[in-house]
Amino acid sequence: MLSAQNHRNLPERDASFDVPCPRAFDFPFETSTVELLPTVDIFSSGSNVALNRWLGIECQKIEAGLVVGTVPSWKPGWPKVHTVGLAFPEAIEFQPAPTERDGEQLKTLRARKKKPDGESDDSQVATKSTRLRPPSDALSLEDRLFYILQPPLETMLAGQDLIMPFEPFPHQYEGIGWLFSQKSALLADEMGLGKTMQMITAVRLLLRGGQIRRILLVCPKPLIPNWQREFRAWAEELPVVTVEGDTARRNLIWKMPGVPILITNYEVMVRDMEAMPEDERPKFDLVVLDEAQRIKNRDSKTAVVTRDLNRKRSWCLTGTPIENRPEELVSLFEFLEVVPPRATPDLRQLSRLADVYILRRTKDVAMKDMPPRLDRDAYLELSPAQQYAYTVAEKEGVVQLNEMGDQVSVQHVFELVLRLKQITNFDPLTNESSKLDRLVADMEEIAQSGGKAILFSQWTKVLDWLGARLQQFNPLIYHGGVPTKKREPILAEFKADPTRHILLMSYGTGAVGLNLQFAGYVFLFDRWWNPAVEDQAINRAHRIGQTSTVIVTRFICKDTIEERIDAILTQKRAIFESILGAGDESNVTLSLNASEIFGLFDLKARHGKGTKKIAPAKAEDAKQDAA
């Protein structure tokens, strides 16, 4: 209803009115009443007359559609999702290990790990996890994902398809993981930390993972039986073939397909590779050099031929990556193909390369709970006969050297040093030996307690001489003169026979690669020229598996050449750290250099013992002094 009640200008009539239903609408339409109560103020504007007119209403027909629609429409479409894939190489199947073949339950590493009270140490196993990390040179995403997606080493090894005879130590897990991911690697752990086991296990995992299929291991000849034994212990399912026999047989072995692991020694490898046409030389996925310091001289034939081996990965194992000069590392790096041929990196560059490609742990850090090694230097007086022989030899020798004047060479001095060293071992005329006396005294105590000792000497003759005089301790002799086939039985007998109390070994043959951790005593009957070699010898006994303290006795005869050599070697023992670390001692060497050998006698002169300088530059002065 329209109402104009409040409209002052509308006529006073009912302001409501009916709105007729427009005829245009077809559907029933009720009459509705609309209230119109416009409140309008009227101003005297002269135009208010319009307000007096009735409202006009116009009706129009509107088509109301019969179909209901929704605008805009939307369909739940999603874009196609793309994927990126990475397939892993298939694993190689080997013959199952014996426990599996026999149908026995697979041993697990977890089961072996016991607490002192006999309960399994589950918590430790559950928390320990060594993940593989992509190597620093893995740039592609695929390469990086390959390593990231590998299970932890503990999972790979723990009682699943890879049986391990012993639970590896944490540093070994770390080393295995590191080797696994490195194409170029120098594992330089201190001797006795298990480089062999780490290498074998890493190889085993790579083979299992289908990463490699053919491996060549090159090692010094005496160590071949050791490697064969270690492979049997740590990876029994891996077929290992040693390249040996006559030329035809070796050629057959080199070319034999389907053999995953070949072992050979440096000499055979060099000889056979040189004899083989280049296009017929075998190809390897991995070449491992044990005691890799054998190629420290980059121009040596061994180093050259080794670098030419066809390979995809290159690993080196050595406890002494630097025996003499830091530059020796360059030859190893050249084999690892991390420096260009003939490169001459400075020490800073070497140090940077070492950070990436060398993994070295020492026993102090890696094996904190390993029994300690006690070093004791036994300073001995020469026996009267030895003293006489020594004095005569030294005087005569020095006089002889001085008479040579400018012709004197390191070799001449060296010969004198050797002669004097031999006399400190025993007097050749009377066979008197203060070292032997002390050794017998010590050995009586060791034998009484059922202990075993290893003795090292530079000379095989000295070892034979000692062997004849230590019969009460049932000695065994192991040196280069013993045929290779007889060496392993000697070691086995020394281990198994409780009456064998001492093993007499030469530095050259016995210092590397052997596991003699059942011996608790080491004697260095005479001193080697290089402390790294002495350490290698000592570490035959002081290594993983050793359960008691290893007592190392160095025999040093007072006021002799031995004491002077010892003083120099002692100063050099920290060399590894300085070179593998900051590396600012470019001229320092581990072995005695020429001036140091000359200086051996110079040292004595300074102590007032009457021996004069013999260095060529001052030969004239020396002559005068001697006169």
């Binding site: 739940p76 874009p79 999702v81 892993f88 995403l141 994902l145 590998q150 299970p151 999972t155």
Partner: protein, 189 residues
């Protein structure tokens, strides 16, 4: 061990599937298939997927389960060449994959990320939904409780102390590595 038994063991293929949210509502998924020892056989990961505003509004709370389960999960399962025997996931939303897949899908409650959108993750689950697999207990899809028999049969081929949680972490790490290495523009719907 008989050869039949060995073959059965060798046929076990475990799928480990997860997804991570890289930025706001942008997801990337990954599936790792391993043998029974956890050794990787194949890995697939998706490009990132980001829903648009309309999808967010219209899917509402079903959005993330849809993206993770039906979009990413199903795509991964379709694309992978080495087909898994079952799928383990650390995202509860990926349980939604089960109705569209013909294999058991198990959710590892213990490894569920804290940012999981499903707050029901931590809620109590019916006992009959839980199943032991390796060292862990998993949750099955409530409408597919008959999966228990298959899961228990596969579990017999595994070591009792096999850690089924760890491979899921690997997948997560691989996805993060992928995202940090590759600058991928999310596919906006």
């Amino acid at each position: 061990m008989t050869s039949a038994s060995k073959d059965r063991k060798d046929q076990v293929r475990l799928g480990f599937m997860t997804a991570i949210e890289i930025v706001d509502r942008t997801f990337v998924g990954g599936l790792l298939v391993t043998d029974r020892f956890g050794r990787p056989l194949e890995f697939q990961c998706t490009t990132p997927v980001k829903p648009n505003r309309t999808q967010e509004l219209l899917y509402g709370p079903t959005l993330v389960p849809f993206i993770l389960g039906e979009l990413l999960g199903k795509t991964l399962l379709d694309r992978i060449s080495v087909k898994p025997t079952l799928v383990l996931t650390s995202r509860v939303e990926m349980l939604q994959l089960r109705p569209t897949a013909s294999l058991p899908v198990l959710f590892d409650e213990a490894s569920s990320p804290s940012d999981s959108s499903d707050t029901a993750t931590r809620t109590e689950v019916q006992k009959d939904q839980q199943v032991r697999f390796g060292r862990q207990t998993f949750r099955m899809h409530k409408d597919f409780l008959s999966d228990r028999a298959i899961v228990e049969r596969i579990a017999l081929e595994l070591s009792d102390d096999a850690n089924m949680h760890e491979p899921l972490q690997r997948v997560g790490e691989a996805l993060r590595e992928t995202m940090s290495t590759v600058a991928v523009r999310p596919r906006v719907a």
